[in-house]
C-alpha cells in the first residue's frame, strides 16, 4: 500500500535445530512513523528485524521496504536502512572514530565527509572521551552508544533498532530518544524499534505491534492500545500486562475446551 514504508505478508521462519520463530507475520508500518515492536522474550522480535533488514531469510512470505521487495532489492534496501541489532556489532580492535569513518566510507561518503559525519556523531552521542579508544576497551553503555551511532552514519530513511538503549545511562538514553524524535520529525525517518521498557514505547512510539509466539497479537496506535487494555488512567505498562494476562487466560480456556 502506498504510504507504508514497511510491508510484510505471511513472514514465517523456523530455525534449523530450533523453534518456529515466526508463524506468518503480517505488518504494515507507515512512513515517518516511530514504531514499537513489543513481545515477550523469544516472541520473535529479533528474528523479524533480521529478516526485514536482509540479514536472515524467511522460509515463506515476503516483505518490502520503501516499495523494494526483500528478495532481489537487497542491496538497494541496504543503503536505505540503518540497523542496530540486539547484540552489539563492533570491530573490537577498531577505534571509535575510525569505525564511524569506515562505516561512512563503506556507504560511499568520501574521506572528508565521512570524517565530518563521524565527528558529528561522536559529539551527539557523547563519545568524545572515548573517540580514540578501541571498541574492546569501551564500557558496555559506550559500546551500545557507538553501536547505535554506527547505524545513523549514512542518514538512512528507515532505522531498525533492536533494544537500542539496553545498558545506556539515563542521560544518554534521553539524548538518544531526543535524537530519534528529531530525525523522525525533521527528516521523516521511520524509527522501527523493539524494547522491553514499556515507558519507551509509551513516550517514543506512535504505533505499536505486540508479537506473541511468532504472530502479531495486536496492532494499533500506542494511545489506542493503552486505552483498550489499561482501563481509565492506566499507562501502557499496565495495559500490556493486562493484555498478556488476558491472552494467557484465553489460551488456557481454549486448551481446556479442547481437552473436554
Amino acid at each position: 500500500m502506498p504510504g507504508n514504508i514497511i510491508e510484510a505478508r505471511g513472514l514465517a521462519r523456523t530455525y534449523r535445530k530450533g523453534p518456529r520463530a515466526l508463524a506468518g507475520v503480517d505488518l504494515s508500518v507507515p512512513a515517518a512513523c516511530r514504531f514499537a515492536l513489543l513481545g515477550a522474550n523469544g516472541a520473535g522480535k529479533s528474528t523479524l528485524v533480521r529478516i526485514l533488514c536482509t540479514l536472515s531469510r524467511a522460509d515463506s512470505g515476503g516483505a518490502s521496504i520503501a516499495g523494494l521487495p526483500l528478495s532481489g532489492g537487497s542491496k538497494a534496501i541496504r543503503s536505505l536502512i540503518g540497523v542496530a541489532l540486539q547484540d552489539t556489532q563492533l570491530d573490537p580492535a577498531g577505534r571509535t572514530r575510525d569505525q564511524l569513518v569506515f562505516q561512512g566510507r563503506l556507504y560511499g561518503l568520501d574521506r572528508k565527509r565521512a570524517l565530518g559525519r563521524a565527528e558529528e556523531l561522536v559529539g551527539r552521542f557523547g563519545l568524545e572521551p572515548v573517540a580514540d579508544r578501541k571498541a574492546r576497551e569501551l564500557s558496555g553503555g559506550n559500546k551500545r552508544r557507538l553501536h547505535v551511532a554506527l547505524a545513523l552514519v549514512h542518514r538512512p530513511r528507515v532505522l531498525f533498532l533492536d533494544e537500542p538503549t539496553v545498558g545506556m545511562d539515563p542521560e544518554s538514553r534521553a539524548a538518544f530518544w531526543a535524537e530519534m524524535r528529531r530525525l523522525n520529525a525533521e527528516e521523516g525517518v521511520c524509527v522501527f524499534f523493539t524494547t522491553q521498557y514499556l515507558e519507551e514505547a509509551d513516550r517514543h512510539g506512535d504505533e505499536l505491534a505486540v508479537l506473541d509466539a511468532g504472530l502479531v497479537a495486536y496492532r494499533g496506535t500506542v494511545p489506542a492500545f493503552a486505552a483498550e487494555h489499561s482501563g481509565p488512567g492506566g499507562d501502557l505498562e499496565a495495559g500490556y500486562l493486562n493484555f498478556v494476562e488476558s491472552r494467557r487466560l484465553a489460551a488456557g480456556a481454549t486448551k481446556e475446551a479442547v481437552h473436554a
Binding site: R78, I81, V83, L85, T88, Q89, L90, D91, R105, L106
Partner: protein, 253 residues
C-alpha cells in the same frame, strides 16, 4: 557513489599487518626447513640427478611451498574474528556484495605470500642457490606461490565459514604440508626409494609446482613443467576463491 573495493582491501591489509603471526610463522618454518635439510642431506647435491647447481638450488622450492602451511590461514583467522565479534553482520548490512569482504581477505593473504616468497628466495640466494633464472625466474616462482597460496587461503576461509569453527583454519594448510612429503621435495622422482611414492607424487599437484619453480629459479628440469604448474596453480586459485565467495551465505542464516 565511490567504489568501496579499495577501502575493503585496505582494511584486510591493515589486519594482516596487525596480525603478522601467520606470515611470520610461515617464514620462520620455511627458513628452518631450508637450513636444516640442507645441513642434513645437502651432501648429496653433487649427484648428477640434482642437475649440478648444488642442493640449495634443488631444495629452494620446498622453502617457498612450505610458507603456505602457516601463511595461508590469515584470511580464515581474520574472517573468524569478524564473525565471532558480530562485526561481520554489520559489514554484511552494507550495500556492497558480501563476498567482497572474503575476497579482500584472500587477496591480503596472497599479497603476503608473494612478499614472503621473495624473502625466501632471497634467503636461498644467501644460502648458496645461484638463482640462475634471474628476475623472471624469481617473479614467476612468486607468482606460482601466490596463485596456489591464494587457493589454499580461500579453501581455508571456506572451511571456516562453512563449519563455523575457527579451529579448522589450519586444516587445508596442514594437508598441503603433508603433500610436501609425497612429492619430489628433497630428491628428484628418479631417486625415490619406493615405486608407490613415485606413483603418488605423479598425482600430487605440489610435484608440478615445485618442478616448475626449480626450472624457473635454477633452470633445472624441463620447461614444459611451467605451463602445467601455472594451470594447476591457477585452477587452485580460481576454484578456491569461487568456493569461498559462495560460502559467505553459510555465515548468515
Amino acid at each position: 557513489m565511490r567504489n568501496p573495493g579499495l577501502l575493503i582491501i585496505g582494511r584486510a591489509l591493515k589486519r594482516l599487518v596487525s596480525n603478522p603471526a601467520p606470515l611470520l610463522s610461515g617464514l620462520g618454518m620455511s627458513a628452518f626447513f631450508l637450513v636444516v635439510y640442507d645441513a642434513a642431506i645437502g651432501g648429496i647435491g653433487f649427484l648428477p640427478e640434482f642437475g649440478g647447481a648444488g642442493y640449495m638450488a634443488f631444495l629452494l622450492p620446498m622453502g617457498v611451498v612450505s610458507l603456505l602451511f602457516a601463511s595461508s590461514s590469515g584470511s580464515a583467522q581474520a574472517l573468524s574474528a569478524d564473525i565471532a565479534s558480530g562485526y561481520f553482520q554489520r559489514l554484511a548490512l552494507a550495500p556492497v556484495p558480501r563476498s567482497a569482504f572474503v575476497l579482500a581477505a584472500i587477496l591480503a593473504d596472497a599479497i603476503g605470500v608473494f612478499a614472503s616468497s621473495l624473502a625466501v628466495l632471497g634467503l636461498g640466494a644467501l644460502l648458496g642457490a645461484p638463482l640462475s633464472g634471474g628476475l623472471t625466474g624469481v617473479l614467476g616462482t612468486a607468482a606460482l606461490a601466490t596463485l596456489f597460496g591464494g587457493g589454499v587461503s580461500a579453501a581455508s576461509a571456506a572451511t571456516v565459514m562453512r563449519s563455523g569453527k575457527v579451529e579448522l583454519a589450519g586444516t587445508i594448510g596442514s594437508a598441503v604440508f603433508m603433500l610436501l612429503f609425497l612429492a619430489p621435495t628433497f630428491v628428484p622422482r628418479e631417486l625415490m626409494g619406493a615405486r608407490w611414492l613415485q606413483v603418488v607424487s605423479a598425482w600430487n599437484p605440489l610435484s608440478y609446482l615445485m618442478e616448475a619453480m626449480r626450472f624457473l629459479v635454477s633452470g633445472l628440469g624441463e620447461a614444459a613443467s611451467v605451463p602445467a604448474a601455472f594451470a594447476i596453480a591457477g585452477a587452485a586459485g580460481l576454484g578456491g576463491t569461487a568456493l569461498a565467495a559462495v560460502s559467505v551465505r553459510k555465515v548468515l542464516n
